[in-house]
Each structure stands twice: as C-alpha cells, then as structure tokens.
C-alpha cells in the first residue's frame, strides 16, 4: 500500500479513518446465516437426526432385529415399546433410530458421488467447450428426458434390488443436473478477464481450474446439492418402498413404511411413523438448502 495524503501539511495529524471490516465471502455467508433463525433451527434438527442415527447402537432401547410373536403390532406406548411394534414384534423406536443410518446414507452418498462425477464433467465441458461440450451436454439431455423417479425405477428395476444398486441408480439420476449447473457456472467464468490474466501470466489449465474456476462453481453446486439430498432421501425411500433399494431385514424408513402398510387397519398411526421420519428429514434439508441459497446469494 502506498501512503497518499492530500493537502496535509503534517501527515501525523491526519485523521485516519477507523479500519473498515471487510468480510470475505464465506465470512459474510456465515454472518448472514447466524441471524437466519429458521435455517438454524432446521440445521439443528438435521444435526439431531444425524446424531441419533450415528449413536443408534448406544441409544436404541432394544435390538432392532429382535422379533417377538407375542408383541406384534402393539400401539404407541405399549409397555416398554415407546412407539409400538411392527408386524414381527420388533421395536419401532429402535428400528427408526437404526433406519436413519440407511436412509441418510442413501440420501447423502448418491448426491456426493454425483457432485464429484457430474461436477467434474460439467467443469470439463464448460472449460474445454466446443465438441467435447456438445458431446457431454447432449448426452445429459437424454437423461433429462426422464422424470427422476422413473429413471431411478428403470435403472434399479432392471438391475434388481439391493442398496448398492439403488445408490448407483440415484447417482446416475443426479449427475445430469449437477453437470449442467457446473457447466453453466464454468462457461460464465471462463471468458472473464481474470482467467485471461491468469493464463497470460503463465498459469496452466489445471492451476486455472483449481484456483480460479472451482471457487466460482462450488457455491451453486453446493447449494443445489444440499437441496438434492432431500430429493434423494425421498426417492431412495420410495425405491425401498417398492422393494428395490434396501432389502429386509435391514431397518430402513422406506422399507418399514412398505411392510407396515399391510397393517394399516390394525394399527394405523404406528404405520405412519417411518413416513413422518422421512418427511421431517426431507423438509429440514429443503429448508436449510433454501437458507443457504439466500445466504450464499446464489441465483438459479
């Protein structure tokens, strides 16, 4: 910094302005989030759900697999079963806690993988442009021709049930939208002066992408992905509900909903519990995603 003082005979006597706090991008995002109480509350709900799922071996009151012929389909609050029992006499509360593990895993892993694969493809398409862009983006267009649930059902329906197949199907469903967002963000930045300047000063392609492009792509990709977690949980539970996805006897919210459906006339409100868990989780992720979008000032 150079010291330039205008018309000051005695520099020592010039009033220096108090230092203005300049916040960085992430600092200002954190600042905005700190006063967004709605987002904070739903963020804590997510934290609580994740903790409950992680700690389920220690906090679950019973063994989620222990069946009992005597205590089948008992109502909420029956003896030691706080939330009742299912059609095999297993404790619903314990199964809900354990089920959070598979349901959250099925929600988060596909989105994470799709961010990596779709994001990379998008940045490549956007940065290289030309024929490569055409090839990648037109291929993605084909997958846009399917409603997401139909695409997931098609892939896992053909490959057969199982958690791995379900996650693979969901990953394939989420790659196209993430690729498109990364491509748009990259294309917007690619032609800007600072990229030119970096290139002129001798930066290689890899270093330009890492230092100049990624920073601009991450925010929209992150915000979009946080919203996708909600979609992913909904579709993953839907797949398990249809008998694709998670297989019995593994506890999973979608699967629990599917097997309890048979007991809807016996014990209706117990049957609705796993769905309520899916709903609260998906709602929380949507609310937090909305808050992040506003705090990070991302327009999509």
């Amino acid at each position: 910094m150079t010291d330039i003082t205008f018309g000051a005979a005695n520099p020592a006597k010039v009033d220096t302005a108090p230092p203005v706090k300049v916040r960085g991008y992430w600092q200002s995002v954190a600042y905005r989030l700190r006063y967004d109480y709605v987002t904070l509350v739903f963020g804590f709900i997510i934290l609580a759900i994740v903790l409950a799922a992680l700690l389920s071996p220690w906090i679950a009151p019973m063994d989620p697999q222990k069946t009992s012929m005597v205590y089948r389909l008992k109502p909420i609050g029956f003896k030691q079963f706080t939330l009742g029992t299912d059609e095999l006499g297993r404790d619903i509360l314990s199964r809900l806690l354990w089920g959070g593990r598979t349901s959250l895993l099925m929600g988060v892993v596909p989105v994470g993988l799709a961010v990596l694969i779709g994001g990379t493809l998008g940045v490549i398409a956007g940065f290289i442009g030309g024929k490569i862009n055409m090839l990648i983006m037109r291929t993605m267009d084909i997958f846009y021709a399917f409603p997401s649930i139909l695409l997931a059902v098609a892939i896992s329906g053909a490959m057969g049930g199982g958690m791995a197949n379900g996650m693979l199907a969901l990953t394939l469903v989420f790659i196209p939208p993430l690729c498109r967002i990364a491509e748009t963000a990259t294309t917007q930045v690619r032609g800007l002066d600072f990229v030119e300047a970096a290139r002129a000063s001798g930066a290689g392609t890899a270093s330009i992408i890492v230092h100049h492009i990624l920073g601009n792509v991450l925010a929209p990709v992150f915000v979009y992905a946080s919203g996708l977690v909600s979609v992913s949980i909904l579709i993953a539970s839907g797949l398990s509900f249809l008998g694709l996805g998670v297989e019995p006897p593994t506890p999973d919210w979608g699967l629990m909903l599917s097997t309890l459906r048979q007991a809807i006339y016996v014990n209706p409100w117990v049957c609705a519990l796993p769905g309520a868990a899916i709903f609260i989780t998906s709602l929380s992720f949507n609310m937090v995603s909305d808050g992040l979008r506003q705090a990070m000032d991302v327009k999509m």
Binding site: I142, F146, V153, A154, G157, L242, G243, A272, F279, S282
Partner: protein, 318 residues
C-alpha cells in the same frame, strides 16, 4: 417463429432416439442372459431358437438395436412374460387410467396454487405470503406415498368416508367420468398426486407475479388511476405463460412418476403396471412402459416449449 418451431422439433428427435437406446440397454443392465429375460422360464428349445432369430440375438448389438427399434416403431414392444400378452396392449390399456389421475391432479393443483401464489405475491412479506411459501416447501418435501397412506388412514380407515384403494367394484379396465363409484375412488389418489405440483406451481406463481409487480409499467398503471384489481389483472396476464409452462412440465412429471401413488392406491395405471413388472421381473413390460412414459415426457416438454413460444411472442429463441 416457424424456424424455431422446426428446429425445436428436430432437436427432439436425437433425444427421443437416445431414450430408445437407453430403454434398449435396460435389458443389458439386468443381470443374466438378455435372451432369458425376454422369455418365460419354461420356453422350449424351438421357441428360444425362433426368438433368437426374430429378435436377432445372434447378431452384433447395434444391429439388435436397429431391429428392436424397427419393431418398437411399428408398435411391437414384445410379449409380457407374466401374462403372455403383447406389451403394447398392456401399456396402452393402463395409460388412460394414469392420464385421468394426472390431468385431474394438475387441474386441482393449478387452481389452488395459482390463487394462493397470487395472494402471496400481493401480500408480499405478510403472513399470507409466509404461510403460502412455507406450505409450498412442505408440498415438495412430503413423501407423497406416505401422504397417501395418511389420507387413507384418516378418510378411509378412521372416518370411512372414501374407499381406500382400487378403482371400484365394476371392473377396473376403463374409467368413466359419469360413474360416481369410480370418481369416489379417484379422490384420494388425485389429492395425493397434486401435492408436489401444488408446491411448485405456487412458488412459480408467487415469484412470477411479484416480479411483474416490480416492473415500471405497473407503476404507470397505478399512476393513471387504475384500481388495484385491474393492476392485478395486468400482472396475471404477464405472469401466466411462465406458470402454464411449469404446469405443463409438472403434468409430464406426474405421468412418468405415478408409480408410488398408483402402488399405494392399487390404481391400475402405468405406474402400477411398472410395479407389477418389477415384482415379477417382467423385463419386456418394464422396458416397454418406461419407453412409452419417457417418450410422453419428451413430447410434453416439446409441446410446452412450442405453446409458450406461440403464447408469448417475446420469447424468440435462436
């Protein structure tokens, strides 16, 4: 504009071809020999030879695809393993039932969502707005298969007002609007199905109308002494094309994504057919249903784009 229309239609062709290629590839995604997947397990050796010849399984894959595509274009999607009937007939038979649900759900969602979205935009930032915005997030977050179960619990099990599942006692092959019994069966699935489009159309209406209300011409309208109601009418006219486009897309999503709701309500549409095909590993039906649904989705998107161009001449896309 005609140039755009022609280009847009031409652009849909490679996408439709890509969709057929994906559906063809589904057979190869499935574990096991594709030939066995297309045949009943008790097929005799002669039948297997015959099918191998006619479907060209002894030829390279691109040739197989060409043969399959040629058959699909003439309406031959193979034969169901479970029922031994042609897949095309099964899909078309189920299609009308799904169309009925989707059309009714979109109309219900639109009429409610447009009114509420308009209110939210008008009372921007007030409690009505917050309520509507909150409700639209709930609409897209709720697992609709669970919502369907809750509605069954409340209205069928507890109150006994409406039938829980199925399409009525008098056969489930065709739906007639005049049949009160069938209409009663359609109420819960339609309400359940309208939930997601309700949330999305509400959000779109709110943002489209409030964007128009911020334009300068709205101020001019007020300045020349127009009443608030007349101002709102102008805003609606300007926001409508965007909302209608979203509504069209939602119709496409409902048509293709009906599997969960139709499974819950055992409604004999394409989604229910798809679910049966998954349970019985009936790959020809799975493949055929997905092909038809995806092509309908492509066609819906195309139609929405073209109608939007016709309605709103400002949209001149290259």
């Amino acid at each position: 504009m005609w140039l755009y229309v022609a280009r847009r239609i031409l652009y849909a062709v490679p996408i439709a071809l890509g969709v057929t290629a994906f559906c063809f590839a589904l057979v190869y995604l499935a574990p096991g020999n594709p030939l066995q997947l297309l045949l009943p397990p008790d097929a005799s050796a002669e039948v297997i030879e015959l099918i191998k010849k006619t479907y060209g399984f002894d030829k390279p894959i691109p040739v197989q695809y060409a043969i399959w595509l040629g058959r699909a274009l003439t309406g031959d999607l193979g034969v169901s393993i479970a029922t031994n009937r042609p897949v095309t007939g099964e899909v078309l038979g189920a299609l009308s039932n799904t169309v009925i649900l989707s059309v009714a759900a979109v109309i219900l969602a639109f009429s409610l969502a447009f009114t509420l979205g308009l209110l939210a935009a008008w009372f921007n930032g007030r409690w009505v707005d917050r309520l509507v915005t909150g409700f639209s997030i709930v609409g897209v977050s709720v697992p609709n298969y669970w919502l369907g179960m809750v509605l069954i619990i409340v209205f069928a099990v507890n109150m006994n007002w409406l039938p829980a599942t199925g399409m009525g006692s008098k056969g489930s092959e065709s739906f007639r609007l005049t049949d009160w019994e069938q209409l009663r069966h359609a109420i819960l699935p339609v309400v359940t199905m309208s939930m997601i489009p309700l949330g999305i159309i509400m959000r779109t209406t709110r943002s489209a109308v409030s964007e128009v209300l911020n334009h300068d011409f709205v101020q001019t309208l007020r300045a020349k002494g127009l009443g608030e109601f007349a101002v709102l009418r102008h805003a609606v006219r300007n926001a409508l094309p965007a909302v209608l486009a979203v509504m069209g897309l939602q119709f496409g999503y409902l048509m293709g994504g009906s599997i969960l709701i139709e499974t819950i309500f055992t409604w004999p549409g394409t989604g229910f057919l798809l679910n049966k095909a998954i349970l019985t590993r009936d790959i020809p039906v799975l493949q055929g249903t997905i092909l038809v649904l995806a092509l309908i989705f492509v066609a819906t998107n195309l139609a929405v784009d073209l109608i939007q161009t016709a309605v709103d001449p400002r949209i001149k896309r290259a």
